[in-house]
């Protein structure tokens, strides 16, 4: 019987190294292009004196290299105190803790809710509209309430940041629920018949068939949720007036924007890096966990 060509492991390793290098180069090219766009826009608008849609100067659009340089400057005037980057990274790590716990909680609740709603059609029809409604309420409205309700109940080691994690979870669970339902119901009819022919019960069908089949859908949602949980944590920090997170830095630097615009931009940069890290972690987890035929990957 003729075997079809199967890649040997070494070829595969070499190919993945080549792909990695290619992606790295692509990233650098895009970075350079973005830098060029930003600086080119600045240069053109300043030279022509254009005022639409806004006047371009060092306050509205600082030089990108100035923003990066600001990260290494000492935060307080006169060149004292810690460097800005270490303050921001500390804040980012604190926010990351809230976001990660919120993400984990939201993903679990989202998955569990998805499983329940997928199995009980009536419940799905009854509850799903309310789940959707929960996401149309602006998070800025919900956040202070969650802080006020949850904080008194939280033990000391969870105070404040635990409430923020709940807000992050609130933004996380929804995509996971929707995609879990969709994924669990995506199962091929004959794959189900096969399980029935083995006299498999609902529980085993769930874990041996439905969940593995749903994983690409679930990971597609987790990628959205990963970044949403960071946004949720940042917004959650605002009404809870936690001084340790990136949210406090955002408030702080937005108050000083007219005099120190680079501080807010630098904070933006770190917040974006945090969101991207969350996304990448989920991406790597997906690569390790989801083993599907190429055509079945979401």
């Amino acid at each position: 019987m003729s075997a079809i060509a199967v890649e040997r492991p070494r070829d595969r390793a070499a190919a993945s190294v080549r792909r990695g290098v290619g992606r790295g180069l692509l990233f650098l090219v895009v970075l350079a292009a973005l830098y060029g766009l930003w600086e080119g826009y600045r240069w053109l608008w300043e030279r022509e004196g254009w005022t639409w849609p806004f006047i371009v100067d060092d306050t509205t659009m600082p030089h990108l290299h100035d923003i990066v340089a600001a990260l290494w400057a000492h935060a307080r005037p006169g060149g004292v105190g810690p460097r800005l980057i270490s303050i921001l990274v500390d804040g980012a790590l604190f926010t990351a803790k809230e976001a990660a716990v919120g993400f984990g909680l939201g993903a679990l609740v989202g998955f569990a809710l998805g499983v329940v709603l997928a199995h009980f059609r009536l419940l799905q029809r009854g509850l799903l509209p309310w789940v959707v409604a929960s996401q149309t309420v602006p998070i800025l409205v919900v956040a202070p309430m969650v802080v006020v309700w949850a904080n008194p109940k939280l033990p000391d080691n969870l105070k404040d940041w635990g409430a923020v994690a709940l807000i992050a979870a609130y933004l996380t669970f929804f995509p996971v629920t929707v995609n879990t339902i969709r994924g669990l119901q995506s199962v091929d009819r004959r794959a189900l018949e096969l399980m029935h022919s083995y006299a498999a019960g609902d529980w085993r069908i769930l874990w041996k068939l439905r969940v593995p089949a749903a994983l690409p859908y679930i990971f597609a949602a987790l990628k959205i949720s990963a970044t949403a949980s960071v946004v949720g944590a940042l917004i959650g920090e605002l009404p809870s007036s936690i001084p340790d997170g990136l949210g406090a830095q955002i408030i702080n630097f937005s108050q000083y924007y007219t005099t120190q615009p680079r501080g807010l931009w630098a904070t933006n940069l770190i917040a974006a890096a945090l969101g991207i890290s969350f996304f990448l972690i989920v991406l790597v987890a997906e690569k390790l966990i989801v083993r599907r035929a190429p055509e079945n990957l979401a």
Partner: protein, 264 residues
Amino acid sequence: MSVVEIGGVTKRFGQTTALQGINLEIAEREFVSLIGPSGCGKSTLLRIVGDLIQPTDGEVVVNGKSARRARVDRDYGIVFQDPVLYDWRTVAKNVSLPLEMAKWPRQKRAARVREMLELVELTGFGDHRPWQLSGGMQQRVSIARALSFDPALLLMDEPFGALDEMTRERMNMELLRIWEASGSTIVFVTHSISEAVFLSTRVAVMSPRPGRISETIPIDLPQPRTAGTREEPRFFELVTQVREALHLGHDVDRTTPAPQEASA
């Protein structure tokens, strides 16, 4: 002793009568093909035998018990037109899936999977992913999976329908070898007259609207069948006989327009 007894089975989907008064008895070690045009209910009949759908009327007895009991006891293996392999599992893990469901211990499972892969001549492919194999190889994996727990009965729903003619003929030979080696009883759904005649000990010819068995034809070709079997005069006589039976069944309602088939 009969492995399958189908008594007066009728199946209606809403207004459509898919099957009408089916009677069929299948003895141990028989290879029975159900052949008929699309929409004659042959796949439906197979699923009723497997208790995957319930008849509107009538009774199915498998191994002396109800079809439901037989399913719960895992008395049959099933093979579909598509391999329906789980692509998140390796080939070996796919074959061992029914054994996991039957709670076999790990050691016993591994030994059995090796044995089954050898039977379908896929030794060494256990660690591959299903999508790395050709269509014919995938279908052999699904046959290995269906046979892994040594079911008394094998239900096959056009298992080679998606394969090219060459692969199909080779798979036919393989199936006969496996049938010989495993000692199971096979119910086989097909569109192909020559395939049905070549493989079977008996062919049940079905006709549509409503689906019924219009004739059963014993195939008295000598066993074991070989590549030469397809060239024997008796083979052609039987092929002709099945073809005429099919057309006869068709002539009855040649004047009525064909409605959309309920189930292929």
